[in-house]
């Protein structure tokens, strides 16, 4: 099998806080193939953004964060690179877009400056060439009259346009991998659809792989080929997108699926919710992390944490009883 573009092995990200060390990402492993769109889903605080930012080592390693494990980009472990080497990867081989396009652009520089900066850090270009490239990038991401927009400031653009600028900036050096950290959450639905279309288009045209982080399962179904479900800093299930939606195995994934409102569903019934709340990071249970909220949990779950195990092909799940649960449910439906 071909070497995956990105391979994360047992990644742990720790933070120093005033109340001691907290492990926000605890032993994550997954891989991203060339050109694929991998979805990473989970509720707020499950560690998906931390995972994303850990890939580029964006946290302050001197005072707050420390990493363990391996993040291999085409076989090279990013966690062992020096600061300077890491700077050459960022924005060049792997780039990132963020949730809120307004606060993610520097308000005191023109978007042209910010685009040209990325280009000129990684490529040997004159100002003039970089400016032309910036204009071309803006045009590629569907910004009208880019010659004019290039000298405008972020506050002069609409939310959708700002996110297009962010995407243009991320694509400036034709990265192999784009990490999109909830890129559509701060946008309204029509703009959201446009941005998703744009990302799909660019993924196809440029063959760039995307790690798509979101809590929106609808978006996942629309754009992703494979999905990783995270809960409290761990991967609980991993599957192809169709498989995840048709036969979710982990009780948490099942809960998420049931919580999606149906267009043709019965309006008189309340939406399904997953009972309980996510335990705090400094009070992680010793057994299965989902046990306290799981209706199928027994003593084994409370005592011993399950490993991520292969169900079939590339469908993996972290649960002691997933087989029984699925059988039970099938029997209930029959």
């Amino acid at each position: 099998m071909e070497q995956p573009l990105l391979e994360i092995n047992n990644l742990k990200t720790h933070f120093k806080t005033e109340r001691g060390r907290v492990t926000a990402v605890d032993g994550i492993s997954f891989s991203v193939e060339k050109g694929e769109i991998l979805g990473v889903v989970g509720e707020s605080g499950c560690g998906k953004s931390v995972t994303a930012q850990s890939i580029l080592r964006l946290f302050d390693e001197k005072y707050t964060a420390s990493y363990e494990g391996e993040i291999k980009l085409q076989g090279e472990n990013l966690l062992q690179l020096s600061k300077a080497e890491m700077e050459k990867i960022r924005g060049n081989e792997v780039s990132m877009i963020f949730q809120d396009p307004l606060s993610s652009l520097n308000p005191v520089f023109t978007i042209g400056y910010q685009l040209m900066e990325t280009i000129r850090i990684h490529q040997n270009r004159t100002k003039k060439q970089a400016r032309q490239m910036a204009i071309d990038l803006l045009r590629m991401t569907g910004i009208p009259s880019p010659e004019k927009r290039v000298s405008e400031y972020p506050h002069q653009l609409s939310g959708g346009m700002r996110q297009r600028v962010m995407i243009a900036m991320a694509l400036a050096c034709k990265p192999k991998l784009l990490i999109a950290d909830e890129p559509t959450t701060a946008l309204d639905v029509t703009i959201q659809a446009q941005i998703l279309d744009l990302m799909l288009e660019l993924n196809e045209e440029l063959g760039m792989a995307v790690v798509f982080i979101t809590h929106d399962l609808g978006v996942v179904a629309e754009v992703c080929t494979r999905v990783v479900v995270m809960y409290l800093g761990q991967v609980v299930e991993e599957a192809n997108v169709e498989e995840l939606f048709t036969t979710p195995l982990h009780p948490y994934t099942k809960g998420l699926m049931k919580a999606i409102p149906q267009m043709d569903g019965d309006r008189s019934q309340k939406l399904n919710v997953i009972g309980g709340t996510v335990p705090a990071l400094n009070a992680i249970p010793s057994g299965c992390r989902f046990a306290s909220r799981c209706e199928f949990a027994n003593d084994l779950c409370k005592e011993k944490a399950p490993d991520l195990q292969v169900h079939e092909g590339n469908h993996k799940v972290r649960c002691w009883h997933y087989a029984e649960i699925s059988n039970k449910e099938a029997a209930r439906h029959a």
């Binding site: 930012q53 924005g91 963020f98 520097n106 005191v108 850090i121 506050h155």
Partner: protein, 313 residues
């Protein structure tokens, strides 16, 4: 943008107008009669009355104000009874030393405060950060005159490196001029730097947590330019506000420092004219200080516009 600048300039007019009224009314708000002070205790009631009439003190208040304002607008602030010279001349003579010290002190303050504040923010929570915070707290707690006296004792008396007190104008040579300014400049500047350093630190800390700093990092921008290009420009607004305010304070005359170092600046002028009830001078100084404050604020506003494109829309 030009409209914004014009608007800012026009908005100064009412402020200066109100200040002029306050300065003018000062004579009537303070106890004591300027005329009897001028003529001394032996003056007869007739003499006092005659001078009052001659100086227009018997006219209705609004008329007196009006006359005064017309003169002020023509650059005539009246004459000092005490020094027997026009107030404008007196102010100009005393402005030189004050302005020199203020500029020097502010330069010293900025040169110390900016790097120190940035470093503290960059290494938040480190030993150095704690040292800086403790140092600046001490700086804010020490009165500048105490610090001035210590400097005087060490640099002037013990080491003999700098003249203990006095002032020499620039026309006597640059070094001669500077050596008299250094100690008062240091005394004021180092104390001011504490405030500016704290402001720099907190402003930088806020900006360094912003999302766009993360974006810059994710683009591969070097740590140095993240701090000095992306963060600093955003953090600059509150910093220049504090710099402007402290500069205004310094221009109003550091009375105590000027007294200790025996510098014939605005502070001394104010002190002397208050003691001798030289109202025209007091009024003149108040107007001047207010005028400078307003101009400094205008400059700050215009700098805002240069630094942050969102201002002015």
């Amino acid at each position: 943008m030009y409209i914004y600048i014009l608007k800012r300039i026009f908005s100064l007019v009412p402020v200066l107008f109100v200040v002029s009224i306050v300065a003018f009314l000062l004579i009537y708000l303070t106890p004591g009669d300027p005329v009897s002070v001028m003529l001394g205790q032996e003056a007869t009631a007739e003499q006092i009355e005659a001078l009052r009439e001659q100086m227009g003190f018997n006219d209705p208040l609004y008329l007196q104000y009006f006359h005064w304002l017309i003169n002020v607008l023509q650059g005539n602030l009246g004459d000092s009874y005490f020094m027997h010279m026009p107030v404008t001349t007196a102010i100009v003579e005393h402005l030189g030393p004050t302005l020199s010290i203020a500029v020097l002190a502010e330069l010293i303050a900025i040169l110390i405060a900016l790097p120190v504040g940035i470093l503290a923010a960059k290494h938040r929570g480190s030993l150095m950060d704690q040292f800086v915070m403790g140092f600046t707290l001490t700086g804010m707690a020490i009165p500048s005159f105490l610090f001035g006296l210590i400097l005087m004792l060490v640099l002037g008396v013990k080491l003999g490196w700098l003249p203990v007190a006095g002032y020499q104008p620039l026309s006597t040579g640059f070094w001669n001029y500077l050596q008299y300014l250094l100690m008062p400049g240091l005394a004021l500047g180092i104390i001011q730097s504490a405030l500016i350093a704290r402001m720099t630190r907190s402003s930088m800390l806020e900006v360094l947590n912003a999302d766009f700093i993360k974006t810059a990092r994710s683009k591969g921008v070097k740590e140095r330019s993240i701090i000095y290009v992306h963060a600093l420009r955003n953090a600059l607004l509150p910093i220049i506000t504090v710099v402007g305010q402290t500069f205004g304070l310094l221009l109003a005359g550091a009375v105590v420092i000027e007294t200790i170092f025996n510098i014939p600046g605005i502070g001394q002028l104010v002190l002397n004219s208050i003691q001798s009830r030289d109202y025209a001078v007091i009024q003149g100084v108040i107007l001047m200080v207010a005028f400078f404050y307003v101009i400094i604020n205008l400059v700050i506003d215009l700098l805002y516009m240069l630094i942050d494109p969102r201002v002015g829309y």
